[in-house]
Amino acid sequence: MTFSADRPTMIEFKDVHKYYGDYHALRGINGTIKAGEFFSLLGPSGCGKTTLLRTIAGFEDISSGVVMIDGKDMAGVPANVRPTNMVFQSYAIFPHMSVAENVGFGLRRDPRSKAEKAQAVAEALEMVGLKGYGNRAAHALSGGQRQRVALARALILKPKVLLLDEPLSALDKKMREHMQVELIKLQRQVGITFILVTHDQEEALVMSDRIAVMFEGEIAQLADPETLYRRPATRKVADFIGTMNFIPAEILSESGDKVEVEAKGLGRATLDISQAPARTGETPVVGLRPETLTLLYDGQPAAERETEGVIDEVIYFGDMTYYDVYLGGTDVEVRLSMRNVPGRPVLEVGAKVRVAWSPQALVLFR
């Protein structure tokens, strides 16, 4: 995406390693995070995403490598002087203080007058939608309110980077979706870099300008959400982000910017080199997202390619129906999703169908 490309760099990692005793938690992290970007660190638990976030905040020393914030090497810079502030997973609201005392905590050494500081606290509370909550006791707040207090408390210091450690994981589904939108709006309003740690791929896709997907202490792919979804760099990333069908394939030829493959049940297809990310040495498969496959009705022609199939399973979701289909008399099963629209009945198990697909939707992992 062009959004991030022309922005100055805010954070840079150069070959960052972190060991806990024998455990290698971060294994050579490289990459940059741009100023004003909403950036996510996404991965399963134990992948090192929180550790990486904490190296930015200064809560973890790194074993080797460099972490730069705004052009300065952070080695030896303690957490309390870094230009970052954090929203903790538990929110870490000080239970013995009022909401206003919590929000104003970081202003203790601020030379401004008491009245000015109170004004700043009030503004911060208003920004997160907690106008007039200042005198409440912190321990009497709900989960969503705690989070807002934590946000106000961090943002009042006008940090260059706001770090968010799984801030939505403690909220219920409705509240979570609501706060996702609020956070995006807030980030646009204040314009600073947000770095979000999450294990929820949907959350990352919805909120981020760019995402780093991490597995086992390494960044597997760093890209914008659309690239990540449409052109995952590895089979593992593809599997972690959304659903993808993997179909055994054979590479017939590779010349210049074209790759010709024979995919089981689909047949031959010519792919652009952009559809074939760098080799990882795995057995070749092509990947297809469910929504790029369509069931054709009687007489309906395929836009590009089609193949025969038999429905093996029907999963009804209300607005959508998922079908598991055996392709062209093989044992290759793919899942595809169809929008339920009037006039199109849900099909039954055992029905013979024609499946339309497009070679441009394929990704080759090899």
Binding site: F59, P78, F88, S90, F94, P95, H96, F105, A154, L157
Partner: protein, 269 residues
Amino acid sequence: MKQGTGLGVYAVIYLVFLYAPILILPVFALNDSQVVAFPLKGFTTRWFGEMWADANLRSALLRSLVIAFSTATIATILGLFAARASVRYRFPGKPAAMGLIMLPMVLPDIVVAMALLIVLLSLSVPLSMLTIIMGHVLLCMPFAVAILTSAFQSLDRSLEEAALDLGESRAATFRLIILPLVMPGIIASFLICFTISIDEFVLANFLGSGKPVLSVYIFGQFRFPAKVPSMLALGTLLVLFSIILLGIAEYFRRRGVAKAGGKDSGGFL
């Protein structure tokens, strides 16, 4: 539940057994007879008067208070170090160090007293209130560590990190965040150590000089039947005092748990 009521009756009987001696105390402290037996002879407060008129007792009490105050202060401070280290840090030799600190909890007092006494005598250290304090700190430290450990454990570590993150130094973080949240535990620890030290007899007896502290004085007085009623009067006051201190300690301990957002899981031990 049938089974529950049967157990309930047993529980009440058990509590009566536990409290019987304590309940008897005020009865005979207020009974107008030197002989501690039924039937009761009549109401009097003269044993309390007799007790308070005893100058030796008053000086013994004063000594005990000084010792208990010093012990509780030192043991709680040392306990703070140990509890913080044990909850927050991993370091080599931790189980051994913590084990040694907690050891007096299971060691018979007489062994601790004799071992300390041998060393003090061989170094020609004169026995005094100071040597009693030294012993009492050793004895109280495990209790202080136990109480303070639970106080530190109910403290969410990200609270500290949040304060650092918001620009405070480590020292200010300790003062502004950790100390206020652990304060109920500190008060509870102080009160418990104070109570233990006031009541303790064995170390106070063997590590003290000729001037007795309260527990040693009481021990001596019980040999004279004529003194028993006034000792019961004193005992009544001491028990009352202990219960009040413990009530306060329990209140602070619970408030600490509630403050830190934790769940209450029981008593002191």
